[in-house]
């Protein structure tokens, strides 16, 4: 693996932002970058195995027209894009332990895409460059 790690704090739980994060992760993994994703708040909630495929809506700035464009565009579900990224590269996805506690979750409640839970300091252990916040 070359270049710096692509470190992402994924906070947002709407399908458009989760999809954007998945596409960036796949691109980084394809180009040989290690990827380090930290799931907080609403993004973590979207990775619950019982909710991952439900409709998570789009960001408010989309408006009705943007929401319709997003739905119409189709393509693969963001969870599938994350799965492909993990398949081709070194992609770690960890749940923020604070958010886990807030929602009363354990790792078994999450989709198998999630490698485990960790504290914020552990996330930064793998950070060797900029952090992207989505």
């Amino acid at each position: 693996m070359d270049d710096t790690t692509f470190s992402v704090v994924l906070f947002s739980g709407t399908d458009d932002k989760l999809n954007a994060a998945a596409v960036l992760t796949a691109g980084a993994a394809a180009m040989g970058r290690k990827v380090n994703v930290f799931l907080q708040y609403w993004a973590l909630d979207a990775f619950r195995s019982d909710r991952i495929h439900k409709d998570h809506g789009v960001a408010p700035e989309a408006g009705p027209e943007g929401a319709e464009a997003y739905q119409r565009h189709g393509g693969q579900h963001w969870s599938e894009i994350f799965r492909q990224a993990k398949d081709i590269g070194e992609v770690g996805i960890h749940a923020c332990s604070l958010s886990m506690e807030m929602f009363g979750l354990s790792v078994e409640d999450l989709d198998p895409l999630v490698d485990g839970q960790e504290g914020v300091a552990s996330f930064f252990l793998d950070v060797d460059g900029p952090v992207t916040f989505i």
């Binding site: 596409v23 796949a26 691109g27 394809a30 180009m31 040989g32 565009h73 189709g74 393509g75 693969q76 894009i81 492909q84 398949d87 081709i88």
Partner: protein, 79 residues
């Protein structure tokens, strides 16, 4: 027309970015060195992404054929 003998052809037309590239990467991994993989893509992003990935991953872009509303990328697995 493609001159190389195609080992595997992938029709990724209609798939948005990064679908066609991900399909290509999967096919490259599943085939032997020397295999020729052809990807049909209507995604504009593929026009930059597929050559960029091939260059980074060290494979050979045999040819890109414009077919109107899609392009045909022919790739040889080099390593």
């Amino acid at each position: 027309m493609t001159t190389a003998n195609v080992t595997r052809s992938i029709d990724a037309r209609g798939m948005p970015c990064p679908g066609p590239l991900m399909s290509l990467i999967g096919a490259i991994r599943e085939n032997e060195i020397g295999a020729v993989i052809e990807v049909l893509s209507s995604d504009e992003g593929s026009r930059t992404d597929i050559p960029a990935w091939i260059s980074k991953a060290g494979h050979e872009l045999v040819e890109v054929v414009e077919e109107g509303d899609f392009a045909r990328f022919v790739v040889r697995k080099a390593r």
